[in-house]
């Protein structure tokens, strides 16, 4: 027995020492090697598939701006056509109060997100040269798309902020020594990128949503038109805008849709008038948290009205934007001839609850009795006296009753195909540019060259399309009627709410004047400084040298 124990003792000792030797001599370097498994390292972009993936990724910045609350706030609030509704944290964009400062969230998000995509586009452009495994033509194509997108992003930033950090190479280390380019340098680079992209891009792409020659020419028209108004711009820019615009209209087989209403038909994203659209989908798995959210912002608080509740068919009312009186009374006029009021605004809300309810806004009668599906609220868009309203079995809301919670609702973006009533992520594409915009750009370029009569057919094309059937002639204008005021109104009518207005007013140089004149909430706050948005404070603070090397825009 004792012998046995002794033997175990020796065996165990040997075993333990063996284990210890095995463990201690296993290779440390292997053990400490860090392998990235669930993530992907940067070198992936240098591969064929990685290059393709990066060239998809560079489009993502578009989603952060077009169709988002950020884009809505920065381009529609604080204009002559729209003022703030009851809700939202960013009313100061409309009221131009001191809260609109460099610490603002949207300024910061816009800057950060667009630069992320610019950096990706830079990576695609730089690495294109050494990519193998895919046809050279494809590489050329993707690099051209990257240049178009880079120009696009810089154009958005430049319109808002003036000259910014003009980066044309991929960031590979922690850089902080950064300065601002001049506004002129920005335009020079934007045009250079677009001209280079133009050479290499096809007229159309099999993949709907990619940058094409068509979209680049259209953007060139807009960039030149915008630059023409800047101090460093010239008359030649108007000519170029005209040329590029006409190319878009004539060379690509694009046509205005016959009916203005078809522009907003659900599921009709890829129509013949769309030039460049930001892509969204109803597939929530591939949404990445983004969606076309414009269905939220223009809707009034209908769901608390008698006989009404929130339904998917109408939408989720965030009541951010309310048309100004200018929009009702000076833009959306001539409604028996021009169909655009009818086709842009919600006129009828149908009851979703049956019963007898006390009325709210329309006090012409004490109660209404409705069945599900009956007209519950009618919004004619004009005044109706109480006696006439009293004859209707539903509430009638007229413009004099409108306030921050209840107002005319733009119907263009409503999205009943969303997954559920509270789903914010809509799936409609967001049209960045469409042909009617191009027609009006060409008209504008012609007027600025004093070719008013040449502008007539371009304006009439847009106006006649908008006429009710048989009223085309009544919509026509003559050379005598052509002037910039007409363009101001026509663009508002045609493109209401489509993220053009702030840029248009800034281009024309009448932002301050028109906000003071038409925007009751914004008129007291707006000052000269507001033709530029502030540079984000985090950018200035983090740059070496701070404000001295990266100066803030004046007044902020």
């Amino acid at each position: 027995m004792k012998k046995y124990i002794l033997k175990t003792d020796i065996n165990l000792r040997a075993l333990l020492i063996l284990v210890s030797i095995l463990v201690s001599t296993s290779s440390c370097e292997d053990f400490l090697e860090e392998k990235v498994v669930s993530l992907i390292g940067n070198e992936y972009i240098a591969t064929a598939q990685g290059f393709q993936d990066a060239s998809n990724a560079m489009y993502q910045g578009l989603r952060k701006f077009y169709g988002s609350e950020l884009g809505m706030t920065m381009t529609e609030m604080g204009t002559d056509t729209y003022t703030n509704g009851a809700d939202g944290s960013y009313k100061y964009y409309n009221q131009y109060t001191s809260q609109l400062d460099p610490r603002d969230n949207w300024i910061t998000v816009l800057w950060t997100e667009l630069y992320k995509s610019i950096n990706t586009a830079n990576a695609v452009i730089e690495r294109g040269a050494s990519i193998t495994g895919i046809p050279a033509a494809t590489v050329t194509l993707r690099v051209a798309e990257a240049k178009a997108l880079r120009a696009h992003y810089y154009f958005v930033l430049t319109q808002f902020m003036g000259g910014v950090d003009l980066r044309l190479t991929e960031t590979v280390g922690p850089e902080t020594s950064i300065t601002r380019a001049s506004e002129e340098q920005m335009y020079t680079q934007i045009i250079k990128d677009l001209e280079e992209a133009l050479k290499d891009l096809p007229s159309s792409s099999a993949q709907w949503g990619r940058y094409t020659k068509l979209a680049v020419e259209n953007l060139l028209a807009k960039v030149h038109l915008t630059r023409a108004y800047r101090p460093f711009g010239s008359a030649a820019d108007f000519t170029k805008a005209e040329t590029y615009g006409k190319n878009v209209i004539n060379n690509y087989g694009k046509k205005l849709l016959p009916d203005y209403g078809q522009l907003w038909t659900l599921g009709n994203d890829e129509h013949s008038e769309a030039i460049f659209s930001v892509q969204y989908s109803y597939d929530l798995l591939s949404s990445g948290g983004d969606g076309n959210r414009f269905h939220l912002y223009y809707l009034m608080e209908y769901d608390t009205q008698p006989g009404m509740s929130r339904v998917l068919e109408v939408g989720r009312p965030w009541k951010r934007l309310r048309p100004t009186n200018y929009t009702y009374n000076e833009v959306m006029v001539n409604r028996s001839v021009d169909s655009r009021y009818d086709k842009s605004f919600v006129k009828v809300f149908l009851a979703t609850k049956a019963g007898t309810f006390n009325t709210s806004l329309d006090q012409s009668k004490p109660k209404i009795t409705v069945k599900v599906g009956d007209t519950c609220i009618f919004m004619p868009g004009y005044e109706m006296d109480a006696a006439e309203r009293a004859t209707k079995p539903y509430q009638v809301f007229t413009p004099s009753m409108y306030q921050e919670r209840h107002f005319g609702c733009l119907s263009k973006f409503l999205d009943p195909k969303r997954a559920s009533i509270n789903e914010e992520k809509g799936g409609r594409d967001f049209m960045v540019s469409r042909l009617a915009d191009t027609y009006l750009m060409v008209a504008e370029a012609l007027i600025k060259q004093n070719k008013n009569s040449d502008a007539v057919p371009f304006i009439n094309a847009v106006r006649q399309r908008a006429a009710f059937p048989g009223k085309q002639n009544e919509m026509s204008i003559t050379a005598a009627q052509v002037n910039m005021n007409l363009i101001y109104d026509e663009r508002a009518r045609e493109l209401l709410g489509e993220m053009h207005r702030w840029f248009d007013l800034k281009r024309w140089g009448n932002l301050i004047e028109r906000v003071k004149k038409y925007n009751l909430e914004g008129k007291d706050g707006i000052k000269d400084i507001h033709t530029y948005r502030p540079i984000p404070q985090i950018q200035i603070d983090r740059v070496e040298g701070g404000n001295a090397s990266f100066p803030q825009n004046p007044g902020y």
Binding site: I40, E170, G209, Q539
Partner: protein, 1049 residues
């Protein structure tokens, strides 16, 4: 600011005993139903029986208490009294003055006079006298028939040779060279604590234990000697029975702990190298002992309630604020035009709904523990079971923990010991990330919560964003449950190779899985009538440690050597996966059948791995137990750093001088013991998340038409040169015990210089990136800390009063950043300031009516926050920002008083933290002042109330302009953490109940809180995380009154 008037105490206890266990929901339903019918009769009966049980418990408790008071009294009356006299002397024959003599198990006793003589009346012959004196071992003498009893007391060497656990070994306390504080099982068991971290609170100088809200099961955060690092974690390393843990210690049952040692200076932590950069907490659990087997039971039950009601506006106050908000924007005409139908009705009826109170209930905490310890001469076993339940005061929040511990030691043969130290934990947490109070705080009090027929009105107001918070407490509306299972099994083998040379092998696998279930029904604010959503997340962590340790001990003459060599590896693998769906067909399915849902919203999974390898050596040398030296060197390799920078080398050295052993002090009688320690050493910190050395891509989402177009774009900048952050600590310490232990304590001064700071440096975002992790900059922490224990009164008729005082002051500053001594405004880093400061515009008051013109020149109107134009350029902008202090306190400290009187003991612990600034998210979210959501009932400006506190409500804002400047507060506070009262039954009584000891106790946790943040600014609790935030939707502070019993068989 008394939160808890003592006069109401009894009433309070009664009230709670009647209501506590009947959960809020059942009661609310019960009472709102108003009548009893067949359906609810059963519930009514259950409620009644619970009430009856509680009433009887109450009675029993009272009887028990009175019996207890009378027992001692009666027993002293019964016996026959006679006198005993005698003398108490020390070994050297000199009489001991003030030694105590007590009759065991009674309050009878006396003390000796100047010469050590005493006389005492004892109740009969069958008594035992206990002779005791500080610094000496007590002696018990059975009286019998003796009339004169002389006693010689021996000096208590035990107290001087206390053993302390150090990294990879143990040492006599007198032989320590580093800064180590120790807590024993007794300290832990004498207070009612619910988690391991709490045991450190106020007991160890230099250790800040920060309560993170009162959500059930929330673990406090431990910070040792301040923060070192901007970015890297500041949590200490927890080592359980020799195995470093990679995840929390909340799963450990505090009652299983034999001792906890906190290693604070570089010399002590050097053995843990990089892992110990933020200090180390060694946890040693109880082990079985041979001899008579012991069974013990410890149970406590406590009631908890909110310390202070959150003061939101009531209906009337809200209505006025809403009117004021309309007036401020010039839109107020009449109430009819301003308020909607339900609001008008409420104003007319005087109806106001307090949604917050409606979602609060009386909470309870239950702790049941049963343990066994025993063994033979070869094998020892320790087994315990713990059931802990914390039912939070907020509806739908609770936590329970079930822990089984099994510790085993076995001697295979002489020279080889094997053993294990293991626990199995299963815990369930409800309401971890969903808190119905968030919505209740915002809800308009003028709504109509119930319909005429008594059913819930889901939309109490017309507000498009709010729904009835009560709807979320309906059964099945919300599920937010986390279940964690953890198995830890430390296995060891210890072998004597030759004399004095020992080899130990440690293997510590730690497996943790968790599943989080979520569901939000149609009638919740999150869904607001949309189809329900559900999601499930799973995570698995597998972590293991392997260690090989050699130790060699040698003593010859007056020389004492100890050499330790360690080789260790640790690897950690974290995996997670989850799915989110929308449109669950039937709400009753909750998240149990995700495949049935209409839409899949998200699918995710992840894998993170890291590893560390280390080699370490240590030499301890002592000469004559007088001069002590420790030298340590450790090499660490970490997977988280770049290929060329993986390894870091960290040396440490410490010396100590037991000055009281020198001949010139040996005869100084007031000094029992005195030691001076000095240490210097470096340690590394690798606590950054893995994969920071690599530039990584981020997933992007796009479509071409209707087809998906996923992509990858640069998301982080990798930094392949990342290396160890190194902290060099110098520590000077003094340990002393004076006047036979009457005064003892430790004082420490330290300075920590940190270089190559691991730092997430913010980048200008035009680079395409927001931040990069780099090694730049230097920081310095220097501080002074101390623990002083005094025995104020002793020996007089069995009465002992002692006081422990701990204090801690730490100065944290940035010494240098990447560009040298240049501030980085973008990151709010300033040379000479703490690591994070509040850099904000400064509120100078509120613009008053008579300042309208000046206000206008700045673009402001009266009633708005007046910002100080610091640079006086006539504009308010980013250049006017100033530093508003930081979250680092100037001073923190605690004082514990313990009183022992006969068998009773009483202790109270008061804790204060002074001088820190806090950012209140509670104010940011609930002081929006725009008349839409309910608001904290603050003193806001109106033309008639020209206050300078808070701005005028204005309906044109979602929050006040510059509201950042009114969300910073002085976070200083003083809290009475706990008051404990206990009674130990004497051995005789316990013996009658077949117990070896029996103790009953009661405690109040956090009965009082003093802070201007609470009293003046209506905040909830200023005790915040060091990340400087206060959870806006957090739970209110609570206090707990508990009763418990602890028995040993």
């Amino acid at each position: 600011m008394m939160q808890f008037p003592p006069s109401k105490f009894l009433l309070w206890v009664k009230y709670h005993l009647f209501t506590v266990d009947c959960d809020c929901k059942r009661f609310r339903k019960f009472f709102t139903r108003k009548n009893i019918n067949q359906d609810n009769f059963l519930r009514f009966a259950i409620d009644c029986s619970i009430l009856l049980t509680l009433i009887s418990m109450n009675k029993i408790l009272k009887l028990l208490m009175s019996a207890l008071f009378w027992m001692g009294f009666i027993s002293s009356l019964h016996a026959q009294s006679r006198q005993i006299t005698g003398q108490v002397i020390a070994e050297d024959g000199i009489g001991l003055t003030g030694a105590s003599i007590t009759v065991k198990g009674t309050a009878l006793g006396t003390v000796t006079d100047l010469d050590g003589n005493y006389s005492l009346n004892v109740p009969g012959d069958q008594v035992i006298l206990v002779f005791s004196f500080i610094g000496f071992s007590p002696i018990e003498v059975a009286v019998g028939t003796q009339a004169i009893i002389n006693v010689t007391l021996m000096e208590d060497v035990e107290s001087l040779s206390e053993i302390v656990v150090t990294g990879y070994g143990t040492q006599k306390k007198s032989q320590l060279t580093g800064a180590i504080s120790s807590i024993k099982a007794k300290d832990i068991s004498e207070v009612t604590i619910t988690n391991t971290q709490q045991a450190l609170q106020g007991r160890v100088a230099g250790v800040d234990v920060i309560q993170q809200g009162s959500r059930p099961g929330a673990e406090p955060r431990v910070v040792i000697r301040g923060r070192r690092s901007f970015n890297a974690s500041n949590d200490p390393l927890y080592v359980l029975d020799g195995i470093p843990l990679s995840t929390g210690i909340g799963d450990i049952n505090p009652n299983d702990i034999e001792s906890m040692e906190v290693l604070k200076d570089a010399s002590s932590t050097a053995i843990y190298g990089s892992r110990g950069a933020n200090g180390v907490v060694l946890i040693t659990t109880k082990r079985g002992k041979g001899g008579k087997p012991t069974v013990w039971y410890n149970g406590s039950y406590g009631f908890s309630d909110v310390l202070k009601n959150i003061d939101m506006m009531n209906g009337e106050e809200f209505a006025e604020a809403k009117r004021e908000a309309a007036r401020a924007s010039g839109k107020y005409t009449t109430d009819e035009a301003l308020f909607e139908v339900n609001e008008l009705e409420s104003i007319k009826l005087g109806r106001s709904t307090d949604y917050v109170s409606g979602l609060l209930r009386k909470g309870y905490i239950m702790n049941q523990q049963l343990g066994f310890s025993g063994g033979t001469d070869k094998t020892n076993v320790y087994v315990s079971f713990n059931y802990f339940k914390d039912n939070g005061v907020v509806f739908n929040t609770d936590y329970n923990r079930n822990v089984v511990r099994f510790n085993l030691d076995h001697e295979v043969f002489k020279g080889l010991k094997i053993g294990m130290s293991s626990f199995l934990n299963f815990s369930v947490r409800n309401g971890e990330s969903f808190n119905p109070l968030g919505g209740a705080l915002r809800e308009n009090p003028l709504g109509k919560p119930y319909n005429e027929d008594g059913t819930l009105n889901f939309l109490p107001t017309a507000d498009g964003l709010r729904s009835n918070p009560f709807a979320e407490s309906v059964d099945g509306a919300v599920l937010n449950k986390n279940r964690t299972t953890r198995a830890f099994a430390g296995i060891f083998a210890e072998l004597s190779i030759i004399k004095n040379l020992k080899y130990r092998f440690n293997f510590g696998p730690d497996i943790r899985t968790s599943k989080t279930d979520n569901f939000r029904g149609t009638y919740t604010n999150e869904r607001r009538l949309a189809p329900p959503t559900a999601w499930v997340d799973n995570a698995t962590i597998f972590d293991y440690t392997v260690e090989n340790i050699l130790t060699y001990d040698k003593a010859f003459g007056r020389h004492n050597f100890n050499v330790t060599a360690v080789q260790s590896i640790q690897k950690d693998r974290f995996e997670s996966s989850g799915v989110t769906v929308e449109g669950v067909p039937a709400e009753t399915q909750l998240n149990t059948n995700l495949g049935n849902a209409a839409i899949i919203n998200g699918v995710r999974s992840n894998l993170v791995e890291w590893a560390i390898a280390s080699f370490m050596g240590r030499l301890n040398y002592g000469f004559d137990e007088k001069y002590l030296l420790t030298a340590t060197i450790r090499a660490d390799g970490s997977s988280r750093f770049g290929a060329n920078t993986k390894w870091g080398y960290f040396p440490g050295m410490a010396v100590a001088w037991n000055i009281s052993r020198e001949p010139f002090l040996r005869d100084v009688s007031i000094i029992d013991n005195m030691k001076i320690r000095l240490s210097y050493g470096s340690i590394g910190n690798q606590a950054i998340t893995p994969y920071q050395t690599q530039g990584l891509l981020g997933r992007t989402f796009y479509n071409w038409g209707n087809s998906t177009a996923y992509g990858y774009q640069p998301n982080t900048i990798g930094n392949p040169d990342l290396k160890w952050e190194t902290s060099t600590t110098a520590n000077l310490g003094l340990d002393a015990s004076l006047f036979k232990g009457r005064i003892s304590g430790t004082l420490e001064y330290y300075m920590v210089n940190t270089k190559d700071l691991l730092l997430s440096r913010q980048l200008p975002t035009s680079t395409g990136f927001g931040a990069v992790t780099t090694n730049v900059g230097r920081t310095r922490n220097q501080g002074f800390e101390g623990t002083i224990s005094t025995i104020n009164v002793d020996n007089k008729r069995n009465f002992k009063w002692s006081t422990d005082l701990t204090f801690f002051t730490n100065k944290e500053e940035i010494v240098e950043l990447y560009n040298g001594k240049v501030d980085d405004v973008g990151n709010s880093w300033f040379i000479g300031q703490p690591l994070s400061v509040f850099f904000e515009l400064k509120k100078a008051g509120i613009w008053q009516t008579n300042e309208a013109d000046v206000a206008k020149s700045y673009g402001y109107v009266p009633g708005e926050i007046k910002i100080q134009d610091v640079n006086e350029d006539g504009k308010i902008n980013s250049t006017d920002r100033v530093i508003h202090g930081s979250g680092v306190p100037d001073f923190s400290g605690g004082i514990t008083n313990r009183i022992q009187w006969g068998n009773f003991d009483l202790s109270a612990f008061v804790f204060a933290r002074i001088g820190q600034t806090i950012r209140s998210n509670f104010h940011l979210s609930n002081n929006t002042l725009f008349g839409r959501y309910n608001n904290i009932d603050v003193d806001y400006w109106t033309p008639a109330n020209p206050t300078n506190e808070f701005p005028r409500p204005n309906q044109n804002q979602e929050f006040p302009k510059n509201n950042g400047s009114v969300s910073l507060f002085d976070g200083s506070f003083l809290k009475v953490r706990n008051i404990n009262l206990g009674y130990n039954f004497d051995a005789r009584t316990a013996g009658k109940l077949k117990m070896s000891s029996l103790r009953i106790y009661s405690s109040i946790q956090q009965p009082f809180l003093f802070s201007s943040f609470v009293s003046k600014y209506k905040g909830v609790d200023p005790e915040t995380d060091i990340s400087q935030t206060l959870d806006g939707g957090g739970n209110p502070s609570t206090y707990t009154v508990s009763f418990g019993v602890s028995a040993r068989f």
